[in-house]
Amino acid sequence: MEQTRRNEKTTEEVALGIRRRVFEHSIRNNGGYMSQACSAAEQLAWLYNEELNLGAPTLPMIPKPFEGVPHKDNPDYHTGAGYNGPVAPDLDRLFIAPAHYALVAYATLIETGRMAPEGLEMFNKDGSSVEMIGAEHSPGMEVHNGTLGIGLSTAAGLAYGRKLRGDTGNVWVYMSDGEVQEGQTWEAIAACAHHKIDNVKAIMDVNRQQCDGAMDSVMEVGDIGRKMEEFGAKVVWVNAHSIDEMREAVKTPHPGQPLIILANSSPFEGMPTLEERFPRLHYVRFKSEDERARFNIEIAESLGIDPIDYAH
Protein backbone atom coordinates (compact mmCIF):
# COMPACT_ATOMS: atom_id res chain seq x y z
CA MET A 1 0.00 0.00 0.00
CA GLU A 2 2.67 2.44 1.11
CA GLN A 3 5.00 1.43 -1.70
CA THR A 4 2.21 2.02 -4.21
CA ARG A 5 1.63 5.49 -2.80
CA ARG A 6 5.27 6.44 -2.97
CA ASN A 7 5.84 5.20 -6.47
CA GLU A 8 2.60 6.09 -8.18
CA LYS A 9 4.40 8.87 -10.03
CA THR A 10 8.01 9.34 -10.94
CA THR A 11 9.85 11.94 -8.92
CA GLU A 12 10.19 14.05 -12.07
CA GLU A 13 6.41 13.97 -12.45
CA VAL A 14 5.95 14.98 -8.81
CA ALA A 15 8.36 17.91 -9.29
CA LEU A 16 6.51 19.11 -12.38
CA GLY A 17 3.21 18.73 -10.53
CA ILE A 18 4.53 20.89 -7.67
CA ARG A 19 5.49 23.69 -10.06
CA ARG A 20 2.13 23.48 -11.84
CA ARG A 21 0.12 23.63 -8.62
CA VAL A 22 2.10 26.54 -7.18
CA PHE A 23 1.89 28.37 -10.52
CA GLU A 24 -1.86 27.87 -10.77
CA HIS A 25 -2.34 28.98 -7.18
CA SER A 26 -0.21 32.09 -7.68
CA ILE A 27 -1.99 33.11 -10.87
CA ARG A 28 -5.41 32.69 -9.26
CA ASN A 29 -4.36 34.62 -6.16
CA ASN A 30 -2.44 37.34 -7.98
CA GLY A 31 0.91 36.31 -6.54
CA GLY A 32 2.70 33.72 -4.48
CA TYR A 33 5.88 31.86 -3.62
CA MET A 34 6.52 30.76 -7.21
CA SER A 35 10.28 31.05 -7.11
CA GLN A 36 10.49 28.65 -4.17
CA ALA A 37 8.62 26.08 -6.27
CA CYS A 38 11.16 26.59 -9.05
CA SER A 39 14.17 26.05 -6.82
CA ALA A 40 12.75 23.42 -4.45
CA ALA A 41 10.49 21.19 -6.55
CA GLU A 42 12.96 18.37 -7.21
CA GLN A 43 14.30 18.42 -3.64
CA LEU A 44 10.89 18.09 -1.98
CA ALA A 45 9.70 15.66 -4.62
CA TRP A 46 12.78 13.49 -4.03
CA LEU A 47 12.38 13.61 -0.25
CA TYR A 48 8.69 12.67 -0.24
CA ASN A 49 8.65 10.35 -3.24
CA GLU A 50 11.86 8.44 -2.57
CA GLU A 51 14.10 9.21 0.34
CA LEU A 52 11.92 9.69 3.41
CA ASN A 53 10.74 6.60 5.19
CA LEU A 54 7.24 7.73 6.17
CA GLY A 55 4.04 5.91 7.04
CA ALA A 56 0.62 6.61 5.60
CA PRO A 57 -1.01 9.90 6.64
CA THR A 58 -2.97 9.83 9.88
CA LEU A 59 -4.94 13.04 9.34
CA PRO A 60 -7.89 13.69 7.00
CA MET A 61 -7.05 14.26 3.34
CA ILE A 62 -9.01 17.51 3.48
CA PRO A 63 -7.43 19.49 6.31
CA LYS A 64 -9.56 20.42 9.28
CA PRO A 65 -9.99 24.11 10.08
CA PHE A 66 -7.82 25.82 12.68
CA GLU A 67 -8.55 24.20 16.04
CA GLY A 68 -6.64 26.46 18.41
CA VAL A 69 -3.07 26.82 19.59
CA PRO A 70 -1.34 24.67 22.23
CA HIS A 71 -2.85 25.55 25.59
CA LYS A 72 -3.74 23.72 28.77
CA ASP A 73 -7.40 24.29 27.87
CA ASN A 74 -6.98 22.77 24.40
CA PRO A 75 -6.26 19.11 25.22
CA ASP A 76 -7.09 17.84 21.73
CA TYR A 77 -4.47 19.99 20.04
CA HIS A 78 -2.27 18.24 17.52
CA THR A 79 0.31 19.30 14.95
CA GLY A 80 0.14 18.77 11.19
CA ALA A 81 2.82 16.07 11.34
CA GLY A 82 0.21 13.38 10.70
CA TYR A 83 0.36 14.24 6.99
CA ASN A 84 3.87 12.80 7.10
CA GLY A 85 2.50 9.65 8.74
CA PRO A 86 2.69 8.36 12.31
CA VAL A 87 5.54 8.78 14.76
CA ALA A 88 7.42 5.48 15.02
CA PRO A 89 10.98 4.50 15.99
CA ASP A 90 11.94 3.36 12.50
CA LEU A 91 10.29 6.20 10.57
CA ASP A 92 11.85 9.48 9.50
CA ARG A 93 10.73 12.95 10.54
CA LEU A 94 10.92 16.08 8.42
CA PHE A 95 11.00 19.75 9.39
CA ILE A 96 10.50 22.42 6.76
CA ALA A 97 12.88 24.95 8.32
CA PRO A 98 11.97 27.87 6.05
CA ALA A 99 8.23 27.84 6.75
CA HIS A 100 7.83 30.31 3.88
CA TYR A 101 8.11 27.31 1.57
CA ALA A 102 4.77 26.09 2.92
CA LEU A 103 2.91 26.55 -0.37
CA VAL A 104 5.49 24.37 -2.09
CA ALA A 105 5.39 21.81 0.72
CA TYR A 106 1.59 21.62 0.55
CA ALA A 107 1.78 21.10 -3.22
CA THR A 108 4.22 18.25 -2.54
CA LEU A 109 1.79 16.61 -0.11
CA ILE A 110 -0.90 16.74 -2.80
CA GLU A 111 1.37 15.38 -5.51
CA THR A 112 2.42 12.47 -3.30
CA GLY A 113 -1.15 11.63 -2.29
CA ARG A 114 -0.89 12.85 1.28
CA MET A 115 -3.39 15.71 1.07
CA ALA A 116 -6.39 16.41 -1.15
CA PRO A 117 -6.11 19.19 -3.74
CA GLU A 118 -8.86 21.01 -1.81
CA GLY A 119 -6.23 21.65 0.85
CA LEU A 120 -4.49 24.19 -1.34
CA GLU A 121 -7.73 26.13 -1.78
CA MET A 122 -7.67 26.73 1.98
CA PHE A 123 -4.22 28.32 1.75
CA ASN A 124 -4.03 31.59 3.67
CA LYS A 125 -7.81 31.71 4.19
CA ASP A 126 -9.11 33.00 7.54
CA GLY A 127 -9.90 30.13 9.90
CA SER A 128 -7.82 27.64 7.91
CA SER A 129 -4.98 25.50 9.22
CA VAL A 130 -3.27 25.67 5.81
CA GLU A 131 -1.38 28.81 6.73
CA MET A 132 0.75 30.98 4.50
CA ILE A 133 3.82 30.65 6.74
CA GLY A 134 3.57 27.02 7.80
CA ALA A 135 2.49 26.74 11.45
CA GLU A 136 2.80 23.69 13.70
CA HIS A 137 -0.79 22.79 12.94
CA SER A 138 -0.41 23.19 9.17
CA PRO A 139 -0.32 20.06 7.00
CA GLY A 140 3.09 18.38 7.03
CA MET A 141 4.48 20.63 9.78
CA GLU A 142 5.48 19.50 13.26
CA VAL A 143 7.17 22.59 14.70
CA HIS A 144 7.05 26.33 14.11
CA ASN A 145 9.87 27.41 11.83
CA GLY A 146 8.63 30.77 10.62
CA THR A 147 11.44 32.42 12.49
CA LEU A 148 14.34 31.35 10.33
CA GLY A 149 17.35 29.48 11.65
CA ILE A 150 15.72 27.41 14.39
CA GLY A 151 14.91 24.26 12.41
CA LEU A 152 18.30 22.57 12.48
CA SER A 153 18.66 23.04 16.25
CA THR A 154 15.26 21.48 16.88
CA ALA A 155 16.12 18.59 14.60
CA ALA A 156 19.41 18.12 16.46
CA GLY A 157 17.62 17.91 19.80
CA LEU A 158 15.01 15.51 18.47
CA ALA A 159 17.70 13.41 16.79
CA TYR A 160 19.78 13.25 19.97
CA GLY A 161 16.72 12.15 21.93
CA ARG A 162 15.81 9.56 19.31
CA LYS A 163 19.34 8.19 19.40
CA LEU A 164 19.15 7.88 23.18
CA ARG A 165 15.93 5.92 22.75
CA GLY A 166 17.45 3.65 20.12
CA ASP A 167 15.25 4.86 17.25
CA THR A 168 16.56 4.01 13.80
CA GLY A 169 14.66 6.70 11.88
CA ASN A 170 16.39 9.87 10.71
CA VAL A 171 15.48 13.48 11.35
CA TRP A 172 15.49 15.41 8.09
CA VAL A 173 15.53 19.17 7.74
CA TYR A 174 14.67 21.06 4.64
CA MET A 175 16.69 24.28 4.82
CA SER A 176 17.23 27.43 2.80
CA ASP A 177 20.56 29.16 2.31
CA GLY A 178 19.35 32.47 3.78
CA GLU A 179 19.38 30.68 7.12
CA VAL A 180 23.16 30.68 7.19
CA GLN A 181 23.04 34.39 7.99
CA GLU A 182 21.58 33.42 11.37
CA GLY A 183 24.20 32.56 13.97
CA GLN A 184 22.01 29.80 15.34
CA THR A 185 22.60 27.69 12.23
CA TRP A 186 26.30 27.57 13.06
CA GLU A 187 25.61 26.85 16.72
CA ALA A 188 23.46 23.92 15.61
CA ILE A 189 26.09 22.45 13.29
CA ALA A 190 28.72 22.71 16.03
CA ALA A 191 26.38 21.02 18.52
CA CYS A 192 25.66 18.18 16.08
CA ALA A 193 29.37 17.64 15.50
CA HIS A 194 30.31 17.87 19.17
CA HIS A 195 27.68 15.33 20.17
CA LYS A 196 28.16 13.19 17.05
CA ILE A 197 24.53 13.53 16.02
CA ASP A 198 24.62 11.74 12.69
CA ASN A 199 20.95 10.87 12.42
CA VAL A 200 20.34 14.45 11.27
CA LYS A 201 20.27 14.92 7.52
CA ALA A 202 19.59 18.23 5.83
CA ILE A 203 19.10 19.37 2.30
CA MET A 204 19.51 23.08 1.75
CA ASP A 205 18.02 25.01 -1.15
CA VAL A 206 20.96 27.14 -2.23
CA ASN A 207 19.08 29.57 -4.47
CA ARG A 208 21.06 32.61 -3.26
CA GLN A 209 17.85 34.57 -2.75
CA GLN A 210 16.33 36.15 0.31
CA CYS A 211 13.51 38.54 1.08
CA ASP A 212 15.41 41.68 0.12
CA GLY A 213 16.83 40.13 -3.03
CA ALA A 214 20.04 38.38 -4.02
CA MET A 215 21.94 37.28 -0.91
CA ASP A 216 25.20 38.77 -2.12
CA SER A 217 23.58 42.21 -2.10
CA VAL A 218 22.03 41.75 1.35
CA MET A 219 24.93 40.13 3.21
CA GLU A 220 27.56 37.91 1.68
CA VAL A 221 27.97 34.54 3.35
CA GLY A 222 31.08 33.26 1.61
CA ASP A 223 31.82 29.60 0.95
CA ILE A 224 29.09 28.02 3.03
CA GLY A 225 30.12 24.46 2.16
CA ARG A 226 33.63 24.99 3.45
CA LYS A 227 32.35 26.79 6.53
CA MET A 228 29.97 23.94 7.31
CA GLU A 229 32.78 21.41 6.94
CA GLU A 230 34.89 23.48 9.32
CA PHE A 231 32.03 23.51 11.82
CA GLY A 232 31.86 19.72 11.63
CA ALA A 233 29.24 18.76 9.05
CA LYS A 234 29.64 16.36 6.15
CA VAL A 235 28.78 18.44 3.09
CA VAL A 236 27.91 17.33 -0.43
CA TRP A 237 27.11 19.75 -3.25
CA VAL A 238 24.50 18.71 -5.84
CA ASN A 239 22.61 20.24 -8.72
CA ALA A 240 19.21 20.86 -7.11
CA HIS A 241 17.44 19.91 -10.30
CA SER A 242 19.22 16.58 -10.73
CA ILE A 243 17.42 13.86 -8.84
CA ASP A 244 20.22 11.41 -9.62
CA GLU A 245 22.74 13.66 -7.88
CA MET A 246 20.56 13.76 -4.76
CA ARG A 247 20.19 9.98 -4.85
CA GLU A 248 23.96 9.66 -4.91
CA ALA A 249 24.67 12.38 -2.34
CA VAL A 250 22.56 10.77 0.35
CA LYS A 251 24.68 7.62 0.16
CA THR A 252 27.69 9.60 1.44
CA PRO A 253 28.87 8.06 4.72
CA HIS A 254 28.85 10.58 7.58
CA PRO A 255 29.54 8.72 10.82
CA GLY A 256 29.52 11.07 13.79
CA GLN A 257 28.57 14.05 11.64
CA PRO A 258 25.36 15.56 10.34
CA LEU A 259 24.95 15.32 6.57
CA ILE A 260 24.13 18.54 4.75
CA ILE A 261 23.33 18.32 1.04
CA LEU A 262 23.80 21.72 -0.54
CA ALA A 263 21.47 21.88 -3.52
CA ASN A 264 22.59 24.46 -6.02
CA SER A 265 19.31 25.70 -7.47
CA SER A 266 17.92 28.16 -9.97
CA PRO A 267 15.19 30.43 -8.61
CA PHE A 268 13.39 30.33 -11.94
CA GLU A 269 13.96 26.70 -12.97
CA GLY A 270 10.97 25.61 -15.02
CA MET A 271 9.48 29.12 -15.18
CA PRO A 272 12.06 31.15 -17.15
CA THR A 273 9.75 34.16 -17.37
CA LEU A 274 10.35 34.73 -13.65
CA GLU A 275 13.90 35.83 -14.45
CA GLU A 276 12.43 39.21 -15.39
CA ARG A 277 11.68 39.76 -11.72
CA PHE A 278 15.19 38.92 -10.51
CA PRO A 279 16.42 39.80 -7.92
CA ARG A 280 13.08 40.33 -6.14
CA LEU A 281 11.73 36.80 -6.18
CA HIS A 282 10.82 36.08 -2.55
CA TYR A 283 7.10 36.68 -3.10
CA VAL A 284 6.11 37.45 -6.68
CA ARG A 285 3.14 39.79 -6.79
CA PHE A 286 2.02 40.81 -10.28
CA LYS A 287 2.53 44.47 -11.05
CA SER A 288 -0.49 44.76 -13.35
CA GLU A 289 -3.25 42.70 -14.90
CA ASP A 290 -1.29 42.81 -18.14
CA GLU A 291 1.74 41.27 -16.51
CA ARG A 292 -0.42 38.67 -14.79
CA ALA A 293 -1.99 37.72 -18.13
CA ARG A 294 1.35 37.51 -19.89
CA PHE A 295 2.98 35.46 -17.12
CA ASN A 296 -0.05 33.16 -17.19
CA ILE A 297 0.43 32.44 -20.87
CA GLU A 298 4.22 32.21 -20.85
CA ILE A 299 4.68 30.14 -17.70
CA ALA A 300 1.79 27.82 -18.59
CA GLU A 301 3.57 27.13 -21.84
CA SER A 302 6.86 26.47 -20.00
CA LEU A 303 5.06 24.01 -17.73
CA GLY A 304 3.24 22.33 -20.61
CA ILE A 305 -0.28 23.23 -19.56
CA ASP A 306 -3.07 25.51 -20.75
CA PRO A 307 -3.20 29.00 -19.26
CA ILE A 308 -5.20 29.21 -16.05
CA ASP A 309 -8.77 30.46 -16.41
CA TYR A 310 -8.75 32.80 -13.44
CA ALA A 311 -11.31 35.29 -12.15
CA HIS A 312 -10.32 38.85 -13.05
Binding site: V143, I150, G157, A191, H194
Partner: protein
Protein backbone atom coordinates in the same frame (compact mmCIF):
# COMPACT_ATOMS: atom_id res chain seq x y z
CA UNK B 1 19.92 31.85 64.27
CA UNK B 2 18.98 30.78 60.82
CA UNK B 3 20.68 27.66 59.42
CA UNK B 4 22.79 28.21 56.29
CA UNK B 5 22.80 25.38 53.77
CA UNK B 6 25.69 24.96 51.35
CA UNK B 7 24.85 24.28 47.67
CA UNK B 8 21.38 22.84 48.21
CA UNK B 9 20.71 22.53 44.47
CA UNK B 10 23.59 20.15 43.83
CA UNK B 11 22.29 17.14 45.70
CA UNK B 12 18.64 17.91 45.03
CA UNK B 13 19.10 17.92 41.28
CA UNK B 14 21.14 14.73 41.30
CA UNK B 15 18.53 12.93 43.35
CA UNK B 16 15.71 14.05 41.09
CA UNK B 17 17.52 13.45 37.82
CA UNK B 18 18.61 9.96 38.77
CA UNK B 19 15.07 9.01 39.74
CA UNK B 20 13.64 9.99 36.35
CA UNK B 21 14.85 8.49 33.08
CA UNK B 22 13.47 11.32 30.96
CA UNK B 23 15.32 14.05 32.86
CA UNK B 24 18.47 15.31 31.15
CA UNK B 25 20.95 17.92 32.37
CA UNK B 26 21.88 20.66 29.89
CA UNK B 27 24.49 23.31 30.51
CA UNK B 28 25.68 26.37 28.62
CA UNK B 29 29.24 26.75 29.87
CA UNK B 30 28.18 27.59 33.43
CA UNK B 31 28.35 24.11 34.85
CA UNK B 32 30.12 24.72 38.13
CA UNK B 33 28.42 28.11 38.48
CA UNK B 34 25.09 26.26 38.47
CA UNK B 35 26.28 23.56 40.87
CA UNK B 36 26.02 20.72 38.35
CA UNK B 37 29.75 20.02 37.91
CA UNK B 38 29.63 17.00 40.20
CA UNK B 39 26.62 15.74 38.27
CA UNK B 40 28.54 16.14 35.02
CA UNK B 41 31.41 14.10 36.41
CA UNK B 42 29.24 11.41 38.00
CA UNK B 43 26.59 11.02 35.30
CA UNK B 44 28.05 12.00 31.93
CA UNK B 45 25.39 9.92 30.15
CA UNK B 46 22.70 12.33 31.35
CA UNK B 47 24.71 15.53 30.85
CA UNK B 48 24.92 17.58 27.65
CA UNK B 49 27.33 20.45 27.28
CA UNK B 50 25.86 22.82 24.71
CA UNK B 51 28.43 25.54 24.99
CA UNK B 52 27.96 29.30 24.96
CA UNK B 53 25.18 28.96 22.42
CA UNK B 54 21.88 29.59 24.13
CA UNK B 55 19.83 30.05 20.97
CA UNK B 56 20.70 26.56 19.84
CA UNK B 57 20.22 25.23 23.35
CA UNK B 58 16.62 26.47 23.44
CA UNK B 59 15.57 24.90 20.16
CA UNK B 60 17.65 21.78 20.90
CA UNK B 61 15.79 21.43 24.20
CA UNK B 62 12.52 21.83 22.30
CA UNK B 63 13.60 18.93 20.10
CA UNK B 64 14.46 16.84 23.15
CA UNK B 65 11.00 17.64 24.50
CA UNK B 66 9.51 16.45 21.24
CA UNK B 67 11.43 13.20 21.73
CA UNK B 68 9.81 12.78 25.14
CA UNK B 69 12.60 14.05 27.37
CA UNK B 70 12.36 16.68 30.10
CA UNK B 71 15.59 18.68 29.85
CA UNK B 72 16.70 20.89 32.74
CA UNK B 73 18.54 23.90 31.28
CA UNK B 74 21.13 25.40 33.57
CA UNK B 75 22.45 28.90 33.18
CA UNK B 76 22.21 32.29 34.75
CA UNK B 77 18.60 33.38 34.52
CA UNK B 78 19.48 36.32 32.34
CA UNK B 79 20.94 34.08 29.62
CA UNK B 80 17.80 31.96 29.42
CA UNK B 81 15.60 34.66 27.95
CA UNK B 82 17.39 37.82 26.78
CA UNK B 83 19.46 36.50 23.87
CA UNK B 84 17.39 33.41 23.00
CA UNK B 85 13.93 34.97 23.46
CA UNK B 86 12.71 34.06 19.98
CA UNK B 87 13.81 30.45 20.40
CA UNK B 88 12.25 30.35 23.88
CA UNK B 89 8.96 31.42 22.31
CA UNK B 90 8.93 29.27 19.18
CA UNK B 91 10.69 26.12 20.33
CA UNK B 92 9.63 25.85 23.97
CA UNK B 93 6.73 28.04 25.11
CA UNK B 94 4.40 27.77 22.11
CA UNK B 95 4.54 23.97 21.83
CA UNK B 96 4.40 23.58 25.65
CA UNK B 97 7.54 21.49 25.78
CA UNK B 98 8.38 20.16 29.22
CA UNK B 99 11.59 22.15 29.41
CA UNK B 100 12.76 23.23 32.87
CA UNK B 101 14.64 26.55 32.76
CA UNK B 102 16.76 26.76 35.88
CA UNK B 103 17.76 30.40 36.14
CA UNK B 104 20.50 31.04 38.66
CA UNK B 105 21.51 34.40 40.11
CA UNK B 106 18.12 36.10 39.92
CA UNK B 107 17.97 39.89 40.17
CA UNK B 108 20.80 41.54 42.04
CA UNK B 109 22.16 38.33 43.58
CA UNK B 110 25.18 38.63 41.27
CA UNK B 111 27.95 41.23 41.34
CA UNK B 112 28.12 40.86 37.55
CA UNK B 113 26.24 44.06 36.80
CA UNK B 114 23.70 44.74 34.07
CA UNK B 115 24.69 41.89 31.71
CA UNK B 116 24.35 39.28 34.45
CA UNK B 117 21.40 40.57 36.45
CA UNK B 118 18.01 39.17 35.52
CA UNK B 119 15.95 42.09 36.77
CA UNK B 120 13.00 41.82 34.36
CA UNK B 121 12.81 38.05 33.88
CA UNK B 122 9.58 37.63 35.83
CA UNK B 123 7.97 40.38 33.79
CA UNK B 124 9.06 38.76 30.53
CA UNK B 125 8.04 35.28 31.58
CA UNK B 126 4.67 36.39 32.94
CA UNK B 127 3.69 37.65 29.52
CA UNK B 128 4.63 34.42 27.74
CA UNK B 129 1.58 32.20 27.19
CA UNK B 130 1.93 28.62 28.53
CA UNK B 131 4.82 29.60 30.85
CA UNK B 132 4.94 28.73 34.56
CA UNK B 133 7.15 30.72 36.95
CA UNK B 134 8.53 29.46 40.25
CA UNK B 135 10.91 31.27 42.57
CA UNK B 136 12.93 29.87 45.44
CA UNK B 137 13.29 31.85 48.67
CA UNK B 138 15.25 29.48 50.89
CA UNK B 139 17.23 26.23 50.97
CA UNK B 140 14.15 24.05 51.41
CA UNK B 141 12.60 25.58 48.33
CA UNK B 142 15.82 25.07 46.37
CA UNK B 143 15.85 21.44 47.54
CA UNK B 144 12.30 20.96 46.29
CA UNK B 145 12.47 23.06 43.10
CA UNK B 146 13.38 20.19 40.78
CA UNK B 147 10.44 18.07 41.78
CA UNK B 148 8.09 21.07 41.71
CA UNK B 149 9.30 22.20 38.30
CA UNK B 150 9.17 18.71 36.85
CA UNK B 151 5.54 18.35 37.89
CA UNK B 152 4.53 21.10 35.44
CA UNK B 153 2.75 20.03 32.26
CA UNK B 154 4.60 22.52 30.06
CA UNK B 155 7.61 24.81 30.27
CA UNK B 156 8.67 26.35 33.56
CA UNK B 157 11.13 29.08 34.50
CA UNK B 158 12.65 28.91 37.98
CA UNK B 159 14.62 31.52 39.88
CA UNK B 160 17.13 29.39 41.75
CA UNK B 161 19.42 30.40 44.62
CA UNK B 162 22.90 28.97 44.82
CA UNK B 163 25.81 28.82 47.22
CA UNK B 164 25.07 29.38 50.86
CA UNK B 165 21.30 29.63 51.26
CA UNK B 166 19.34 30.19 54.50
CA UNK B 167 16.77 27.64 55.56
CA UNK B 168 13.58 29.51 56.37
CA UNK B 169 10.95 26.83 55.78
CA UNK B 170 10.62 23.18 56.67
CA UNK B 171 8.13 22.10 54.04
CA UNK B 172 8.74 21.75 50.29
CA UNK B 173 7.25 23.94 47.58
CA UNK B 174 3.67 23.09 46.78
CA UNK B 175 3.07 24.58 43.35
CA UNK B 176 0.32 27.18 43.49
CA UNK B 177 0.29 27.58 47.28
CA UNK B 178 1.52 30.76 48.90
CA UNK B 179 3.14 30.56 52.32
CA UNK B 180 1.39 32.41 55.10
CA UNK B 181 4.21 33.59 57.37
CA UNK B 182 2.38 36.13 59.52
CA UNK B 183 -1.35 36.41 60.01
CA UNK B 184 -1.90 39.92 61.33
CA UNK B 185 -4.58 42.33 60.20
CA UNK B 186 -3.08 45.82 59.83
CA UNK B 187 -1.16 45.55 56.58
CA UNK B 188 -0.23 42.89 54.02
CA UNK B 189 3.39 42.26 52.95
CA UNK B 190 3.94 40.15 49.84
CA UNK B 191 7.48 38.98 49.07
CA UNK B 192 9.27 36.31 47.09
CA UNK B 193 12.79 35.00 46.65
CA UNK B 194 15.51 36.65 48.71
CA UNK B 195 13.24 39.49 49.81
CA UNK B 196 11.26 37.15 52.04
CA UNK B 197 14.10 36.88 54.55
CA UNK B 198 14.27 40.69 54.60
CA UNK B 199 10.54 40.91 55.11
CA UNK B 200 10.72 38.39 57.97
CA UNK B 201 13.29 40.58 59.65
CA UNK B 202 11.21 43.69 59.10
CA UNK B 203 8.01 42.11 60.29
CA UNK B 204 9.68 40.94 63.51
CA UNK B 205 10.70 44.53 64.20
CA UNK B 206 7.31 45.88 63.19
CA UNK B 207 5.52 43.47 65.52
CA UNK B 208 7.70 44.83 68.27
CA UNK B 209 6.43 48.29 67.36
CA UNK B 210 2.85 47.10 67.62
CA UNK B 211 2.02 46.66 63.93
CA UNK B 212 -0.08 43.62 63.12
CA UNK B 213 1.55 42.30 59.97
CA UNK B 214 0.23 39.75 57.49
CA UNK B 215 3.11 38.36 55.43
CA UNK B 216 2.83 36.08 52.42
CA UNK B 217 5.68 34.42 50.56
CA UNK B 218 5.17 33.52 46.90
CA UNK B 219 7.03 30.62 45.31
CA UNK B 220 4.53 30.28 42.47
CA UNK B 221 4.23 33.48 40.48
CA UNK B 222 2.43 32.04 37.48
CA UNK B 223 -0.18 30.61 37.55
CA UNK B 224 -1.42 32.73 40.43
CA UNK B 225 -4.12 32.13 42.99
CA UNK B 226 -5.88 35.50 42.78
CA UNK B 227 -8.84 34.36 44.87
CA UNK B 228 -6.79 33.39 47.92
CA UNK B 229 -4.78 36.58 47.59
CA UNK B 230 -7.97 38.67 47.54
CA UNK B 231 -9.06 37.00 50.79
CA UNK B 232 -5.78 38.05 52.37
CA UNK B 233 -6.12 41.58 51.07
CA UNK B 234 -9.63 41.75 52.50
CA UNK B 235 -8.43 40.53 55.88
CA UNK B 236 -6.18 43.54 56.55
CA UNK B 237 -7.44 46.95 57.56
CA UNK B 238 -4.76 48.85 55.70
CA UNK B 239 -2.94 48.51 52.43
CA UNK B 240 -0.59 46.18 50.65
CA UNK B 241 3.18 46.38 50.14
CA UNK B 242 5.33 44.28 47.86
CA UNK B 243 9.10 43.76 48.00
CA UNK B 244 10.81 42.08 45.07
CA UNK B 245 14.27 41.40 43.71
CA UNK B 246 13.12 42.66 40.30
CA UNK B 247 11.88 45.80 38.62
CA UNK B 248 8.55 46.90 40.04
CA UNK B 249 7.00 46.68 36.57
CA UNK B 250 5.69 43.29 35.59
CA UNK B 251 6.76 41.40 38.70
CA UNK B 252 4.87 40.65 41.89
CA UNK B 253 4.11 44.34 42.47
CA UNK B 254 2.31 44.44 39.15
CA UNK B 255 0.72 41.10 39.90
CA UNK B 256 -0.81 42.57 43.05
CA UNK B 257 -1.86 45.74 41.24
CA UNK B 258 -3.65 43.69 38.59
CA UNK B 259 -5.25 41.45 41.19
CA UNK B 260 -6.54 44.43 43.14
CA UNK B 261 -7.68 46.45 40.14
CA UNK B 262 -9.44 43.51 38.50
CA UNK B 263 -11.44 42.93 41.67
CA UNK B 264 -12.07 46.64 42.29
CA UNK B 265 -10.16 46.64 45.57
CA UNK B 266 -9.71 50.27 46.61
CA UNK B 267 -6.73 49.86 48.92
CA UNK B 268 -3.31 51.44 48.65
CA UNK B 269 -0.46 49.47 47.16
CA UNK B 270 3.22 50.29 47.65
CA UNK B 271 5.58 48.48 45.29
CA UNK B 272 9.22 48.18 46.32
CA UNK B 273 11.89 46.91 43.97
CA UNK B 274 14.07 48.33 41.23
CA UNK B 275 12.24 51.42 40.05
CA UNK B 276 12.67 51.66 36.28
CA UNK B 277 16.41 51.38 36.63
CA UNK B 278 19.25 49.00 35.89
CA UNK B 279 21.51 48.04 38.75
CA UNK B 280 25.27 47.85 38.78
CA UNK B 281 27.79 45.34 40.09
CA UNK B 282 28.29 44.95 43.84
CA UNK B 283 27.62 42.74 46.81
CA UNK B 284 24.11 41.59 47.48
CA UNK B 285 23.87 43.46 50.79
CA UNK B 286 25.19 46.65 49.23
CA UNK B 287 22.85 46.42 46.25
CA UNK B 288 19.83 45.64 48.41
CA UNK B 289 20.53 48.72 50.49
CA UNK B 290 21.41 50.95 47.53
CA UNK B 291 18.30 50.04 45.54
CA UNK B 292 15.92 49.78 48.49
CA UNK B 293 15.25 46.07 48.50
CA UNK B 294 16.08 45.30 52.13
CA UNK B 295 14.31 45.19 55.49
CA UNK B 296 14.94 48.88 56.16
CA UNK B 297 13.42 49.86 52.82
CA UNK B 298 10.41 47.76 53.66
CA UNK B 299 9.97 49.45 57.03
CA UNK B 300 10.10 52.85 55.35
CA UNK B 301 7.59 51.69 52.77
CA UNK B 302 5.24 50.54 55.50
CA UNK B 303 5.64 53.85 57.27
CA UNK B 304 4.57 55.52 54.05
CA UNK B 305 1.68 53.08 53.65
CA UNK B 306 0.43 53.61 57.22
CA UNK B 307 1.26 57.30 57.49
CA UNK B 308 3.20 56.91 60.72
CA UNK B 309 6.77 56.51 61.92
CA UNK B 310 7.87 53.59 64.06
CA UNK B 311 11.40 54.69 64.91
CA UNK B 312 12.83 51.35 63.79
CA UNK B 313 16.56 51.60 63.18
CA UNK B 314 19.08 49.54 61.32
CA UNK B 315 20.26 48.17 64.63
CA UNK B 316 16.75 47.04 65.48
CA UNK B 317 16.60 45.19 62.16
CA UNK B 318 19.91 43.43 62.49
CA UNK B 319 18.90 42.41 65.99
CA UNK B 320 15.60 41.06 64.70
CA UNK B 321 16.00 37.30 64.66
CA UNK B 322 14.95 35.14 61.84
CA UNK B 323 14.24 31.93 63.67
CA UNK B 324 16.02 28.73 62.75
CA UNK B 325 13.32 26.80 60.94
CA UNK B 326 10.60 27.98 62.17
CA UNK B 327 7.82 25.56 62.12
CA UNK B 328 5.43 28.29 61.24
CA UNK B 329 2.07 27.61 62.65
CA UNK B 330 0.46 27.73 59.24
CA UNK B 331 3.44 27.55 56.94
CA UNK B 332 1.38 25.83 54.29
CA UNK B 333 -1.78 27.56 55.37
CA UNK B 334 -4.94 27.98 53.30
Amino acid sequence: MVEMVSRPYEAAFEKHAMAHDEVLCLSADLTSSCEIDKFRDNHPEKFLSLGMAEQNMMSFAGGLGLAGYRPFLHSFGVFLYRRPYDQLMASIAYPRRKVRLMGFLPGITTPGGMTHQAIEDVSVMRSIPNMTILETGDATEVESICEAADSIDGPVYCRVLRGSVPRLFDTPIKVGEMRELETGNDILIVSSGITTEEAMRASAALKGAGVSVRHLHLNTIKPFDHKTMLDHIASVKGGVITLENHVVDGGIGSLMAETMADAGVGKRLVRLGLKDTYAHGGSRAYLMRYYGLDALALVHGIEDLMGQKFGITEDDLSAARVEAVHSLVKAEGL
